[in-house]
Amino acid sequence: MARIELNLDLNRVEGDLEIRLMVEDGVVVEARTVGTMYRGLEQILIGRAARDALVITPRVCGICSTSHLYAAVLALEHAWGLHPPANATRVRNLCLGAEGLQSDLRHSFLFFAPDFCAPRYVDRPEYARVLAEFEPFQGRIYRETLAATRRIVRIVAEFGGQWPHSSFMVPGGVSMGPDLRRLLACRAELDAARQWLEQSILGGDMEAWLALPDASAFHAWLEQGAAADAALALLNRFARGLQLHRIGVGSGHLLSYGACYEPEAMARGERLTRMSGGFWDADTGRVQALDQGLINEHVRHSWYQPYAGGRHPWEGETVPDYRPDSDRYSWAKAPRYGDKVVQTGPLAELLLGGDAMLQSLYREEGGSAWLRQLARLRRVAYGLQQSRSMLDEMALHLGEPHFEAPSGAPAEADPDGDGYGLVMAARGALGHWVKVREGVIEKYQIVTPTAWNASPRDSQGQAGHWEQSLLGLKLGDSEDTTEIGHIIRSHDPCLVCTVHMMSSDQRLRFSPF
C-alpha cells in the first residue's frame, strides 16, 4: 500500500490556501485544509466605539465587504432594538444583491472556469471552444465578465459612494435614500446585466430559466437552440465530461440564513426573509427552523487558547496561541450547528429556499462540485430578480424615510446590548455577534461562510466540509491534481475572510497542476 502525504497550494481563491492530503493507493483518505494568514480584526474592534464596526468589518473581505457591513449593522440594530425603515432595507438588499452578482460572476468565470483551460484537457471535446470563452484575458466570456461586473458594482456606488469598503448602512437605516435618478441609473445596470446573462450565459429568457421545474427540464433547456451554444451549456457539458457532478459532495447538512430581508417586516422588527432559510439535517431528512443559539465554535485543532467543546459566538474568544508543533493545524475555528458539520453557499441557499430545479437535481444526482457551481450561476438570476424588485418597490415608496435616528441625544453613549446580524453573503451564511458595553465593543465575533466550509476538525475529531469533500477522490497521477482545484474552487473559497495559516512537516509537495 502506497501512503503518501501531499501538500498543495491553490491560487485563484480569495487569499491563499494550503491543503494537506493523505493518499493511499491513489485515493484521498484524509484531508486538512489550511489557509496561510492571520490578521486579528476581531481583536482590533475590542474597545473601539460600537459604530466603528461599520468601518472595520467590511475590510475583512474585499470581495464581499457589503455583506459584512450588512451583518454588522444588523448586529448593532439588534443590540439597540432599532428597526430600519422599509426603504433602508430595500437599499441594503439592492446593494448586497449587486455585490453578490459581482462575486458570483467573477468567481464563476474568472476563478472557476479557467481551470477547464488546463493543458491536460487539450484532447477533450470542445477544448478549443472552452479556450475561446474562458481563457484569462483572452476568452470572450472572461472579457465580458470583466466588463459586466465593472458595471454591476456601480449600483453599490450609487448608494454607498464606492465599492468596496463603504459604510453607508448605519444603525437606523442607510445614509442616502432612493430618488428617481439613482433608481433609473441602477435599473440600467440591472437591465444590462440581465441582457448579457440571457445572451451569453443562459441563451434564453431569465424568467423562463428560473421557472424550470426539474432536472429533466434543465437538461432539455441546455439542449435547445441558443441555450445549447451558450456558456452555461458548455460548462455543463465539460464539467459532466470530467465527472464533476459525481465528486466533491462533502457534508450533507445544509445551512442558510435566508436571503433578501423583507423590508416591511424589518420595519416592524421582524427579521423575515423573502427566500426562506434554515438547517437541513441530512440524518433526519428534515428542515429545521434556524436557531442561531445552536451555532458554536470549536478550537480544538486551531491555534487559539484552548477551551473545551464549542462556544456560542457571544461567549467566544479569539486569543492567538500559535503551536506549530502540535496536532492543531489552522487559524480557522471550527463552527458547528449543534454538533453538525455543515456546508453553506448558493447551493444550500437555493435548496432551502425552495428552488425546484436544483432540488430535483439534488435528489437525482446528489450534491457535487458541479451542482455547487451550477447553483452559483442560478443564483445570479435570482439576484437580478430580487434586486429588480427592490428598485420597483422603492419607486412606489419614494419619499418615505431611509433613516430613523435612534432616540436620545447623539452625544449620549450608545446603550449596552448584545446583538447578532445574519445575512446570506455570496459564499453563504455570514454572522456577526457583538456585545456593546459603555459605548464600546466588549466582544465581537464573526463567523464567515468559509469558516463553515473550510473548518478544521472539531473537539469530536469531525472533519470540516471541504475536508470531507475531498475524501475518496481518486488521484490518477498524484502529480496532477487538477481535480482538487475543481472541487475546492466549486466552494468559492474566500481565504482572506477566514482561514489562516499552518505549519507542517512537509515531506512531499506537489503543485496542483
Binding site: 492571520y38 480584526l41 482590533i44 456606488a157 459612494g161 468596496p164 448605519v170
Partner: protein, 322 residues
C-alpha cells in the same frame, strides 16, 4: 515589455477588486495597450502556484526582469518578528517581499495597508503589522526609510482603503511608460494626493454656510459632528468619482481618511473631536481664529433653501463665541 508581479500579504483583496473597476485605463488596457506583462496576480493568474515559486526564484536570481512589484496588504511580522503568521509554504511573505523588492525596478504599495500598515496595524496590532517603508506615520517599516528600488525610487505609496481604481491603474500605466513620477512627502504620487476629498464634495455648500448634520442620513455637511475627514484628507474621491458615479461623502458616508498613514484614527470614527463647538482638526492649512470668524459670518448668511425643514439641529459654532 514592462513586467508586473503582484503579491498579496496581510490583505483583504480589496485593492485588487477595486482595480477591476478602473476604466481609464482598465486592467485589460494596461495589458493590451500599455504593454504590461502580468507575470503574476494571485487571483487572476491561471498558472499553478509552482509558477509563482519559479518566478520568485528567477526574479531574485536575476534571471527574470521585474519592472513593477505591486504589494497589496499589511506586512505581517508576528510572531516575534518572524513573519510566520502570513506565509507561503515555509517562507514568511515578509521575506519574499523583501527579496523581490531588491530585484524590482519600482515597488508600488497598493493601498494603505502595504504603504503604512493600515487597518491591521490599528491597536493592539495583533499580528504586528507594518508598511513597506512606513509604520503608520513613522518612516521605517519593512524596508527602512533609506531603501530605494533599482530605478532609485522609494516605495510608491498608492494609499487608500481600498486605493482608488484610477490611482492604481494610472500609476501603473505611467510607470510602464518609464516616466518620472512626482511624489509627496510620504511618497504618494502627487497627481492623486494633492487635492482634498472636500474639494468637489457636493455637500460643500452646506459646509460653506455652516449647515452641519447631527445625524447620518441627511444632506448636510458631516465635518462638524459625524467625523468626516474630507477637509483634511488628500485623495481624488470627489474629483474622479468612484465607479464613475459617486463618492462616500456624496452618499452621506463620512470620509474616514483612509489615504492617511494613521488610518484608522484612534477615537470614534463617526464622531468629531471638538473644542467647544469647533472641530479640533480644521481643514488643512486653515488658521483657527480666522476660521471661527468666517464660520460665524457664514452661518448668518445661510440661504433659506439650505435650511430644509427636515434638517436636524444645526451646528452651533456661535455658541462658542457667546
Amino acid at each position: 515589455m514592462p513586467t508586473l508581479f503582484w503579491i498579496q500579504t496581510g490583505a483583504c483583496g480589496g485593492d485588487s477588486l477595486a482595480l477591476l473597476s478602473a476604466e481609464s485605463p482598465s486592467l485589460e488596457q494596461l495589458l493590451s495597450q500599455h504593454g504590461v506583462e502580468l507575470l503574476w496576480h494571485p487571483s487572476l493568474s491561471h498558472a499553478p502556484t509552482r509558477r509563482f515559486d519559479e518566478l520568485i526564484r528567477a526574479i531574485t536570481a536575476g534571471e527574470q526582469r521585474l519592472d513593477i512589484l505591486c504589494v497589496e496588504g499589511s506586512i505581517v511580522t508576528a510572531p516575534r518578528g518572524t513573519g510566520m503568521f502570513d506565509r507561503h509554504k515555509d517562507r514568511a511573505k515578509m521575506d519574499i517581499v523583501r527579496d523581490l523588492a531588491q530585484a524590482a525596478q519600482a515597488v508600488v504599495a497598493m493601498g494603505t495597508c502595504a504603504a503604512y500598515g493600515g487597518v491591521h496595524a490599528a491597536p493592539p496590532n495583533p499580528s504586528d503589522c507594518t508598511g513597506l517603508q512606513f509604520e503608520r506615520a513613522a518612516p521605517g517599516g519593512l524596508l527602512g526609510a533609506e531603501w530605494r528600488s533599482k530605478r532609485g525610487l522609494p516605495v510608491i505609496n498608492v494609499a487608500g482603503c481600498p486605493a482608488h481604481p484610477h490611482a492604481m491603474s494610472q500609476t501603473l500605466a505611467w510607470l510602464a511608460m518609464g516616466l518620472p513620477i512626482a511624489l509627496d512627502a510620504i511618497n504618494r504620487p502627487k497627481a492623486f494626493f494633492s487635492a482634498m476629498v472636500h474639494q468637489g464634495c457636493n455637500r460643500n455648500e452646506h459646509h460653506e454656510y455652516d449647515v452641519e448634520d447631527m445625524q447620518p442620513g441627511g444632506a448636510g455637511c458631516m465635518f462638524y459632528n459625524l467625523g468626516c475627514e474630507g477637509p483634511m484628507t488628500q485623495a481624488i474621491c470627489n474629483d474622479d468619482l468612484w465607479q464613475g458615479v459617486s463618492s462616500k461623502t456624496r452618499a452621506g458616508v463620512p470620509c474616514v481618511g483612509c489615504t492617511a498613514p494613521n488610518f484608522p484614527k484612534e477615537g470614534a470614527l463617526f464622531e468629531t473631536e471638538k473644542i467647544g463647538a469647533v472641530p479640533v482638526r480644521l481643514p488643512l492649512g486653515v488658521e483657527r481664529p480666522r476660521y471661527m470668524a468666517y464660520k460665524n459670518l457664514a452661518r448668518a448668511a445661510v440661504p433659506s433653501r439650505l435650511r430644509g425643514a427636515d434638517q436636524p439641529k444645526r451646528n452651533t459654532t456661535q455658541s462658542e463665541e457667546e
